[in-house]
Symmetry: C2
């Protein structure tokens, strides 16, 4: 009987392992995909793309490798050779190639110049050719940074006693609903795709006190803008036993600090590749919704008409205002009008036309909506009635409140929007592996 | 201007913080939900449910608290009192209550005895009352353990150079398909819910070499069994530059070892609550599909008819065989017949009626399907043709291969099945927060 006992050490080396062997006479093996090839006359340079970076490999034009037909872009190879110091090469060394083994070869040449630093393709082409365009070093670095964002979110909340949950994405036709919901047939019953884990995470506050989820959400909105997607990854948390809704913003501030620290510590190479300057989250200003409106109207001499919501341009100016006045990248805008918030939002006891809720803006773009929720059963029923809504389809949600819930609140962060702003991109699709929008369902 | 600078220290204490204050004269504050109440004549006991455990709180029957109407199950309270050593209480101490503040009170008494050690409800009732039944200490402990499983999966793969990805769950009508796919209308275009991130994770091997995802998958299968769900959380990984398909099983062995270690280190309390004995994964036997069939037919005198697949009972007997013969909990069954594997499975060059694929069984239940994939474009086209399939809808998937892909393979683990077997449960719904099956779409 054969047994497996865990991961076996590979004969082929990672870049970090090779770095430790600079100048040694040891013959090493390394594999990767041919990222680019350059014929420099007396020598040939092959750049190998590996998961931990690119690697410069060299062979002499007089060698038998010269005519090696494997050595073109897209081929996957294994090289045998020596690790030689080369201060100008990436990581400070190059491989002097002695032997090559072909692992697999492409059937056709690449349709776009993946091996270049900047591909100069349109976003449309980039997205159409996603399986290929992501092989570009700068393209893939974006999604390494996105990974860091999610890791920072989870690890901080875990350290704060949150439990990670997995809630269903197919649901019964709910009450929260509206037109912006994808519908499907579930074994001959009408069903929907959840637009948020809102009800589930609130119910789970009654169980775990503090919960989070990182999962897809679905919105059938007919927006066709640079900041909307019809499917995106939502970073959600919900916490019980809050003293006020400031607790939620304080927790989010901690989340951002944790993300920034992790990116600095473990994603330095990707930040360098993309020349990213991380936002600052050491102190985040909070401003009331109505004050924010006044501040920007005054400073920029630009009054806005909608008293119940912030227009896109107004958010941009709020971002600009706090950058100019306080050098702040993030801003919490608090106390949104009750009218524009869902029924479960806790109204401000001091003035119930406003809510104990907030948006967080980064660089003038809303990346988070959150707030305190109603936790008393009777208050919830009363607000549902006042809005002319029905409790039908909300029986399980209301059950949690009927049997006691602590004061609580939470938020949802749009992962792609947050990534986009960190990267300094202006279209959320740039920060989405495979975007879904009004016209795009593939790849 | 006000600023938020991060999480503020709470005045109320966690159980760990209280433990450090045993015997001190300090007056402390603690909050939680009333889990159970007992009148013992001269004293009253209130058990508070907190996220980090339950806490025994005591007050004298002669105190003014005696008639306190707040003190019934489901109420959320804040107590002021002293931390007193009590060897028989959970965590070795109890709170002598001096003051109580009501945070919220339930509207109605609990429908099931959540405060009891075992509720003795049927699974059906338990699931119907999920927001409440999960408040039971044993019920919620299951999902803490499930959290540990996911954390162990992710942290190990991150340590092995994998990148986490987020792939779309709404897709165009694909070729892999079949009848078991949920369909929806996507802005007047036919769309489907992805039954697996298979195509996406393979495409991303060409980008990151090693990727993983932990996300929901959707299967419109009309199975109504104890081990099927129509939506579940799939723990997927895919790795490039493998030397053989054993690399994938070796990686999974490492994943299991990581999960077990994390559960031992950080979830000891939950393991104790549920009296869980963790499976062993230090060495996992591998057996060929056809050999496994023969072994159990011989030992248990029970031949099975289907030569191309394992019946449920056959899997159980394979589990039993390896437990009896090798004291093994996990078993890798390898070389499944090509006929029963998807077109992208790599056939065994030694005998192409079999594939370089495997299932992993835990306690006789399939919890993983995986294997090496075809990485050569021409071989893939040839197999698609041989099966009488069309490449329509697979253009983007095939694009990755056309332009070069390394040898690779991967697997998917059913999170709920793995959790169920770790817990020793016999119905996968016991290990699912909000199950979706043929008859259940709520809560």
């Amino acid at each position: 009987m054969e047994f497996l006992t865990g991961v076996k050490e590979k004969e082929t080396k990672t870049i970090a392992q090779l770095q430790a062997l600079i100048g040694s006479e040891e013959s090493i093996k390394v594999n990767g995909a041919v990222h680019s090839v350059r014929n420099m006359g007396t020598v040939h340079f092959v750049t190998l793309r590996k998961r931990d970076g690119v690697l410069q490999c060299v062979y002499e034009s007089t060698s038998h490798l010269e005519e090696c037909e494997h050595l073109h872009e897209g081929a996957c190879l294994e090289f045998t050779g020596k690790v030689v110091e080369a201060p100008k090469a990436p990581h400070g060394f190059e491989i002097h190639v002695e032997e090559v083994t072909l692992l697999s070869k492409p059937a056709e040449p690449l349709p776009i110049p993946v091996g270049k630093w900047k591909m100069n393709t349109t976003l449309e082409t980039n997205l159409n050719l996603r399986p290929i365009s992501l092989r570009n070093i700068r393209e893939r670095a974006k999604f390494r940074i996105q990974e860091g964002v999610v890791r920072g979110f989870r690890s901080f909340l875990t350290s704060q006693g949150f439990t990670e949950i997995h809630t269903p994405k197919i649901g019964a036709k709910g009450a929260e609903g509206g037109a912006n919901i994808f519908k499907l047939d579930y074994f001959h019953r009408p069903a929907i795709l959840e637009q948020s884990p809102q009800f589930y995470k609130q119910m789970m506050v009654g169980v775990f006190d503090r919960v989070f989820e990182t999962a897809p959400v679905f919105r059938a909105e007919k927006h066709n803008t640079k900041r909307h997607l019809n499917e995106y990854t939502s970073l959600d948390f919900e916490m019980g036993y809050i003293d006020s809704f400031e607790d939620i913003m304080a927790m989010e501030t901690g989340v951002f600090q944790s993300i920034i620290k992790l990116l600095q510590e473990e994603y330095g190479e990707e930040l360098r590749i993309l020349d990213v300057t991380l936002p600052k989250a050491d102190k985040i200003p909070t401003v009331r919704f109505d004050e924010a409106k006044e501040l920007v109207a005054k400073k920029y001499n630009r009054p806005f008409r909608n008293p119940y919501d912030l227009e896109t341009e107004e958010e941009l100016l709020i971002g600009q205002y706090f950058k100019e006045e306080y050098d702040a990248d993030f801003v919490f805008v608090t106390h949104y009008p009750s009218k524009k918030r869902p029924f479960y939002a806790m109204d401000d006891p001091a003035d119930p036309t406003y809510t104990l809720s907030f948006d967080c803006l980064l660089g003038g773009l809303e990346i988070t909506t959150g707030g305190q929720r109603i936790h008393e059963y009777d208050m919830l029923l009363e607000k549902i009635e006042r809005r002319g809504m029905t409790t039908e389809g909300m029986e399980h949600y209301l059950m949690a409140f009927k049997h006691g819930m602590p004061p609580h609140g939470g938020l949802g962060i749009g992962l792609e929007r947050l990534t986009m702003k960190i990267l300094g991109e202006d279209n959320v699709r740039e920060a989405t592996l495979f975007p879904r929008d009004l016209s795009r369902l593939e790849p």
